[in-house]
Subunit: 393 residues, 2 copies
């Protein structure tokens, strides 16, 4: 369409939908309303107060006392970029654990900053075996960083972190952790296990629109970044400048995404009101019922129960069912969005998020009823009654 002056365009098609895919998740009215608060300057004293409070709220949600805790001006992917850009020097050896698409992406990002990447791999749907990491560390004692995804959004695996953290620190290496799909839904033991570099996104369990990357950096890692002699090969995400904007200097670097910070502030307040531990418990309790319900319908879950991520469930679609047709049916008839598989799981699985406000029995019941209907339309009958009984306890 050729646009000309004075032309009025049709309404944007932005109706309410139930976003139970791998993200973005739904955003509550309180957060949408915060987004629309009047804009003030990025160096206005009132805005600086909002930044300080947002930093304290992020420390609460990350359960950390790390001084260097902030929100980067980009999506969760910018968090991954900043994590590697700031910590790698050209030629550094790093170990990256790959058990899905986002671990694989880490190898790409780290390589672009000149890292020599040693991969530790697990098949999609399984966590990283600590013994394999131990072997990689033994073979590469000169590696500087171990990078790993805590919650693999491509598979629904929650990586146990205790042994991984111990092995990394015993070897004197830094631990870099992707918590995009865990923060705010599952415990992220930043201080407890001494994660050195941890980042997340806003559009998963925080129920805030995408556009910011919460990040927290341990003191040893922050000291290393401050002391690095070679400039960070990324001006926009250079923590040595960004930390001065979030710190007491209030040094001008970029113009903060002001209204997005309002939204994040409100989303974090909602978590504080609920209490982070209660929120984790809610995610676990609802997920367990959800898994039971899916199994009662005859679905086979992708991940073994002890490694399952409460905020994102994956199951194989039944043989003979066109998984994309099921997703289209759910969107067309119920306005429910879920995700399909990525990589080698494409066409084989569904990914369903129970993130923040969507970790909710009513929404789970609606999804189960809708899925039963969609499968029936594909000639596949399931026991929806039994599944709903499990959700309703």
């Amino acid at each position: 369409m050729k646009l000309t002056a004075g032309m009025a365009l049709p309404r944007r098609k932005t109706s309410e939908k139930l976003l139970m895919g791998p993200g973005p998740s739904n955003v509550s009215a309180r957060v949408l309303s915060a987004l629309g608060e009047p804009i003030i300057g990025h160096l206005d004293a009132d805005f600086l107060d909002i930044m300080t409070e947002t930093k304290e709220l992020l420390q609460y949600v990350f359960q950390t006392e790390n001084e260097l805790t902030l929100a980067l001006p980009g999506t969760g992917s910018a968090g991954m970029e900043a994590a590697w850009a700031n910590t790698v020097l050209p030629g550094d050896k790093v170990i990256v654990c790959v058990h899905g698409v986002f671990g694989q992406r880490m190898t790409d990002v780290a390589s672009r900053y000149g890292a020599e990447v040693i991969k530790v791999e697990s098949p999609m749907g399984k966590p990283i075996d600590p013994e394999m990491l131990a072997a990689a560390i033994k073979a590469n004692p000169d590696a500087k960083i171990v990078g790993i995804v805590h919650a693999e959004t491509s598979t629904g695996v929650l990586q146990p972190m205790d042994e991984i953290a111990k092995l990394t620190h015993d070897a004197g290496m830094f631990l870099l952790v992707d918590c995009v799909t865990s923060l705010g839904g599952v415990e992220v033991p930043v201080d407890k296990l001494a994660f050195d570099m941890t980042y997340s996104g806003t559009q998963k369990c925080l129920n805030c629109p995408p556009g910011l990357a919460p990040m927290t950096v341990s003191k040893p890692m922050a000291d290393w970044i401050r002391a690095r002699q070679i400039p960070v090969k990324n001006w926009y995400l250079d923590l040595n400048m960004i930390m001065r904007y979030w710190g007491e200097d209030r040094f001008y670097h970029h113009t903060a995404p002001i209204n997005m910070i309002y939204a994040l502030n409100e989303a974090l307040r909602i978590i504080l009101e609920e209490g982070i531990e209660k929120r984790w418990e809610r995610h676990w309790a609802n997920a367990r019922r959800f898994w039971g319900a899916l199994e009662a319908m005859g679905m086979k879950l992708v991940v073994e129960e002890k490694y399952r991520l409460p905020s994102l469930t994956t199951y194989y679609t039944p043989d003979g069912v066109n998984e994309a047709a099921v997703r289209n049916y759910l969107m067309d008839k119920y306005k429910i969005e879920i995700g399909g598989g990525l990589g080698e799981l494409k066409g084989k699985i569904h990914r369903v998020g129970l993130m923040g406000v969507n970790s909710d029995p009513a929404r789970m019941a609606l999804f189960i009823a809708a899925l039963g209907d969609a499968l029936k339309a594909q000639g596949c009958k399931c026991d929806v009654n039994a599944a709903l009984d499990i959700i309703n306890g």
Copy 2:
């Protein structure tokens, strides 16, 4: 303050203010309301339609038919980063024109990607002299790119581009232009002068919150980027992947800042309704009155009239006046934000933006009255009557 579960925090201090600094500018209620529309998925067919329409609106505002036109998921600074990250190979020679802080920043950004930077400099407050660029091109015929700031936010200079563009193209080099403070307020002659790489921000003359960087790339530049053999040393801003998300592939790269895209879409619709040429005329007409009014008050403008930027005016504060105290007075009493000087102009000048909705006689009159009052409080009397008469025609 130690945050604990269940704690309720005081209201965020986000009241209406008049943002007449160098940005962010005010955002209209229509755009704030668009920000708060319900979130839908970043691969939802309805969202892809919004992206396509936003791309067409950006083509209209950039006055270009460039196929590669999009909004990057970061602020205007991310636009600068992406411009250099995608076009520089390590060891490339580039010429950067420096007539203020943002030209200086270009030299830093380009260097981080391995460019050998040749600087062409003008004093702050003056534009680049094309003869100096011609000399630099003659001395460096192997340079690949000429980078320049169209509207220097640190000084209020509007760089004439005709000769710069001709010199660059005659030498077979690519032209990279920063239009952060011109787009939507002053003509950005992308196709007319064949700019190769052009980027902007949303928080200036577009009257949209900060968080996105509109960008448009010429066909020769896009072809060069597609053909480059060395991967872009920045995964997040790699146009070879991002162009596939904005193009027909709809390849997943990052999760678009969905609600920010709604806001940009609405802000661009407002420009379409007014008509881009009318908008430029309005910015020029209001700026000329504003300059006359300031001069009637006895202010000395920093930039010679023929190089003045309509969207950002700079003047020296009178001798003996504490410029920061004036700005604080304007904020405390009138809730008006303006900017101070940067670099060598720090403490000497004010920067006042008339951007988009703020290029408006009523807001100009309020500012003039408030400035007169603030200067009086500093013991400096000005002829406010004469200034207001000029604004009122």
